[in-house]
């Protein structure tokens, strides 16, 4: 199967997760996947295998706080919530992203 072009670039996963949790509140891993897919109207798809290691890493950095909870279907799931440090990180990553994309846009326009 050819690699889908809409698999997310490695570095941007963190940015998207942080943004998603900021705007939607605490979510479990599956919900984060669906939300990103949904918000991007299927332009972006999270490679599910890389989500959980990434979530753990972000949790270790202190950007997310995790806890076990119950879903509406009465299943046990691990919910992630953004922390204050996470919000600061989000701001930093947004700024970087905007800078990079602006740079790329300029190169494509003028190079």
């Amino acid at each position: 199967m050819p690699k889908r072009r809409n698999d997310i670039l490695y570095g941007t996963l963190q940015l998207l997760v942080l943004e998603t949790l900021t705007s939607r509140g605490p979510l479990h891993g599956y919900a984060i996947t669906s939300t990103i897919q949904g918000s991007s109207e299927d332009l972006l798809r999270v490679e599910e295998g890389s989500l959980y290691p990434a979530l753990r890493r972000m949790e270790q950095q202190g950007w997310l706080a995790a806890s076990w909870g119950i879903t509406e279907k009465n299943r046990e799931a691990r919910f992630y919530e953004i922390t204050r440090a996470g919000r600061a990180q989000l701001a930093r990553e947004r700024e970087t992203w905007e800078r990079v994309t602006e740079g790329v846009r300029r190169v494509l326009q003028y190079a």
């Binding site: 295998g49 290691p53 890493r57 270790q60 950095q61 691990r78």
Partner: protein
């Protein structure tokens, strides 16, 4: 703090894995629900969900790596596995841990002694800045008076203190043994005379009251004393009211002004100073001999602290520059012009002295280093044993190893895991060894003795010693674990699972085990030879005829400095004492003398032989003693020609002298020297001529192992008294100690302020045998231990080999071989190993025993008799041990052996 969490997770990794698993299971379940809702069948949905999620195992591994410190987890799991394995084979574990414990413990014990005696820095402020000031180039004093090089006179010390600017601070001290009682039997304790700046220079504060200051060390000072913390705890129980109290030292009262900080007991390592008094109080303690003015009494050690930023060589240069002025100002008045010149040319130098001063160190340094080598060898032998045990076990674990290899475990991982087991074993051995070392090092310090005083060393557990132990343990574990682990991991899994190969002769594993045993036998042979040499030396020393009869003699050192006798009475006082003790029942003979054999006190002088009007100076020094009549009888030294002294050889009578046979032979040859004359030198000029009235048997003077040199005796009353004291010697048929009460009361009757110190001649001689005794005892113990370990190794290897070759034995017997043939076969193999080991050992011994040459007495390092005897003992014991397995081999029932595969 991320790392902390990852560290903790090492011990919670099961929980971490379970959480991750649950989380991912949930994700997949949700996906399945979604797909089913979209129309897929449940089975298909599950497959699709799994596919999209990716490989569970991989993702779980990735999460795990993030949450847990990987390498630490591997180490912890290795440790857990190793611990389980060791517990499962508890018999093996116990044997291995005990042998390792003994080996490592012995090494730790000797090293802690070496550390305490030679390496440990002084417990003072910044010990690396402390230096010792010494003299160099040019001798001082005529006729060998006093130690050279590192002891100064007081005028010289004051010159150094006042003139130098190279050192930030200087201090001087002299070790003393103070008598705490006033009259009667002496009770001594270690202490020191110290200069006023002593405590300040060392940076040792007071914990009660205050310590001495420079203002306390001025002429005419009050008698003050500072106690060490240890002394305060021991003698006063840490009583709070000790400051301001009085202590009697050598009969004089001193006021206690303070207690110094814990851990400090002087600069002299091996001695413990409990009481410090200022130098100026010497005048009160030694009236009649003004030590502080004397320009040729050398008794002070001088130390200093480097100025910040200076190096010892800079200090050396600066001190050397001040030396001429210092020495010129302190030249002894009675020196000849020649001696003056030499004296004035003496220079000063400084040596780093962070670990203080020590006479014990000089005496025992080589012995301890030799012992370290010995225990190192014992540890090697023990390691070889444990290695063999491990290899034997490895063979039985081959199956398990092969399965693990087949299942994909890397060889390196396997080797690491096996090595963890070895190191764990070694660390357990080290823990046991530390306990053993703690107990045994104290025992060994008890064996050290120096001039009759017990040696005190700070043996408290120190980081250095602990570090040494752990390093030795780890090296040991790797050493004996590497070979078995490597061999285990090299096993080809297929062959191992199919069945272990039959252990035939020529199997490389057996050859390797055999060569290890050969090495063990060789090493233990060397230790047995060393033990034989050292034990033999000691025995020879202890039984050598010293020229006197040591048993049955009590020595009483009598002092009467407080009596303030007139000069006339003082001169005849020794005789008075001798006459008095001769009346004590049980005393066969008694005499008085300046010194007694092997006492640590010596007196030597050059002599001039008179030939008519000419005098010829001896090229060699003569050992002297001043004695009353009856000395020869009391000590049991035979008179060979002429006569003994009589009471008539007194102060005003013609000077007479007794010479030893060695002196007579050396100068007069075979002719009798009786009637000839000789004299000693008094400050470089010939003294009055003395007539030789008798020749005496040679006797040991200062040490039991010395070469006997020329000696002479002069009447006690015809010599200048050294101090208001004398040594009385009493011979009795019963135990010498039984005389003590009678002598004490006799002396008390004469005057209660007379001080007494008792010793037996036997004890005095025994002390000089302390180092040979230490070496003989320890080398004998370790030699025996090495032999035992090597024989155990041989027995183990032979047993194992026989057990593995049961098949072969069975075949041989079934094919008609006689059982004695089997016996001969196995015994012959053992004999081959032993012979190879002994041959190698002989070579090693010849090369190695040279190192202990200086400790030997009456025997050369390559003594053939000792070598032959050791070989015989080793061979006999080893063959005896090998007979067991050989017998078992011969007793194999062929039917049983052939049936088992």
């Amino acid at each position: 703090m991320v790392w902390l969490r990852r560290l903790v997770n090492v011990f919670r990794s099961d929980r971490v894995d379970r959480d991750a698993g649950r989380e991912m299971a949930f994700h997949v379940a949700e996906r399945v629900d979604e797909l089913v809702a979209g129309g897929m069948s449940e089975a298909e949905a599950r497959r699709e969900a799994r596919r999209r999620f990716g490989r569970h195992a991989d993702i779980r591994a990735r999460v795990h790596r993030i949450e847990v410190i990987g390498w630490l987890e591997a180490v912890v799991s290795d440790l857990r596995y190793a611990a389980r394995a060791l517990k499962a084979n508890s018999g093996f574990t116990i044997v291995a841990v005990v042998s390792l414990g003994l080996g490592i413990g012995a090494n730790t014990a000797i090293f802690s002694l070496i550390h305490a005696l030679m390496l440990r820095p002084l417990p003072v402020d910044r010990p690396e800045e402390i230096v010792q000031v010494a003299m160099e180039d040019g001798s001082h004093g005529a006729g060998g008076g006093g130690p050279r090089g590192t002891t100064f006179t007081n005028p010289l010390w004051e010159g150094i203190r006042d003139r130098q600017d190279a050192l930030a601070a200087t201090l001087a001290f002299a070790d003393q043994r103070f008598n705490l009682t006033a009259g009667g039997v002496v009770r001594r304790t270690g202490g020191a005379w110290v200069s006023g700046g002593y405590f300040e220079a060392l940076g040792v504060p007071a914990v009660r009251g205050r310590v001495l200051a420079p203002a306390d060390d001025l002429p005419g000072c009050p008698a003050l004393a500072v106690l060490s913390h240890g002394y305060w705890q021991r003698e006063y129980g840490g009583a709070e009211d000790v400051v301001g109290g009085t202590i009697s030292l050598d009969g004089h009262p001193f006021r206690i002004i303070g207690v110094s900080a814990p851990g400090f007991s002087g600069i002299h390592v091996g001695r413990s100073a409990g009481i410090f008094v200022p130098l100026c109080s010497v005048r009160a303690l030694r009236p009649g001999r003004d030590l502080l003015e004397a320009r040729s009494t050398w008794f002070l050690n001088v130390f200093g602290r480097l100025a910040p930023g200076t190096t010892p060589s800079e200090a050396r240069g600066a001190l050397a520059a001040t030396a001429p002025a210092v020495f010129r100002a302190a030249v002894p008045a009675h020196y000849s012009p020649e001696e003056r010149r030499e004296f004035a040319e003496t220079s000063l130098t400084a040596e780093a002295a962070a670990n203080g001063l020590s006479l014990v160190r000089g005496q025992y340094r080589e012995a301890l280093l030799t012992l370290l080598v010995v225990v190192g060898v014992v540890l090697l032998i023990a390691c070889a044993n444990v290695a063999q045990l491990l290899m034997a076990r490895a063979t039985s674990r081959q199956h398990e190893v092969a399965v693990r290899l087949a299942l994909g475990s890397g060889r390196a991982r396997l080797v690491r895991q096996l090595l963890t087991e070895s190191v764990l074993l070694a660390l357990l051995g080290a823990a046991l060894g530390t306990l053993f070392a703690h107990w045994s090092s104290r025992l060994v310090v008890g064996l050290l003795a120096q001039a009759g005083r017990a040696v005190t060393l700070d043996l408290s557990l120190d980081l250095a010693v602990l570090g040494f132990t752990i390093a030795v343990a780890t090296a040991t574990g790797l050493l004996f674990g590497l070979a078995p682990a490597w061999r285990s991991a090299r096993v080809a899994p297929g062959r191992a699972i199919r069945g272990s190969g039959r252990g035939l002769v020529g199997d490389p594993r057996q050859r390797f085990a055999r060569s290890i045993v050969v090495g063990q036998v060789a090493l233990s042979f060397v230790l047995v030879v060393a033990a034989g040499l050292l034990v033999g030396s000691f025995r020879r020393l202890a039984t050598a005829d010293p020229g006197f009869r040591a048993d049955g003699v009590l020595i009483a050192s009598v002092g009467w400095s407080d009596l303030e006798l007139s000069e006339a009475r003082g001169a005849t006082f020794p005789r008075e004492l001798v006459e008095r003790v001769r009346t004590i029942p049980g005393v066969r003979h008694a005499s008085a003398s300046l010194l007694t054999p092997i006492s640590g006190t010596t007196w030597n002088d050059d002599v001039a032989f008179h030939e008519g009007a000419l005098e010829s100076r001896s090229e060699w020094p003569v050992m002297f003693n001043g004695v009353t009549d009856g000395y020869l009888e009391t000590l049991g030294t035979r008179l060979l020609a002429g006569r003994d002294f009589t009471p008539g050889d007194g102060a005003g009578a013609p000077p007479v002298v007794l010479v030893s046979r060695a002196l007579a032979r050396r100068y007069y040859g075979e002719a009798s020297p009786v009637g000839r004359r000789l004299s000693t030198f008094v400050h470089d000029s010939v003294g009055p001529a003395m007539e030789i009235v008798g020749v005496v048997e040679d006797a040991r003077y200062a040490r039991v192992d010395e070469d006997i040199g020329p000696a002479a005796y002069v009447p006690l009353e015809q010599t200048e008294p050294w101090s208001p004291s004398t040594d009385l010697a009493l011979r009795t048929d019963a135990a010498p100690g039984a005389l003590i009460p009678a002598v004490t009361s006799a002396m008390r009757e004469i005057h209660p302020a007379i001080t007494l110190e008792f010793a037996t001649l036997e004890d005095q001689v025994a002390v000089s045998l302390a180092r040979p005794r230490l070496l003989a005892t320890l080398s004998g113990f370790f030699g025996g231990l090495a032999l035992l370990l090597a024989v155990i190794g041989l027995y183990g290897t032979m047993s194992y080999s026989v057990a593995r070759r049961r098949n072969e034995m069975g075949i041989r017997i079934a094919l008609g071989s006689a059982r004695t043939g089997i016996l001969r076969l196995v015994a012959g193999e053992a004999g081959g190993v032993i012979a190879a080991g002994v041959s190698l050992g002989v070579l090693l011994a010849i090369a190695g025993t040279r190192l202990i040459g200086s400790f030997l007495f009456g025997v050369t390092p390559t003594d053939p008799r000792t070598l032959a005897l050791s070989a015989l003992i080793l061979a006999a014991v080893a063959m005896g041990a090998a007979l067991g397995p050989a017998w078992r081999a011969a007793g194999v029932d062929p039917m049983v052996a052939l049936r088992e595969e």
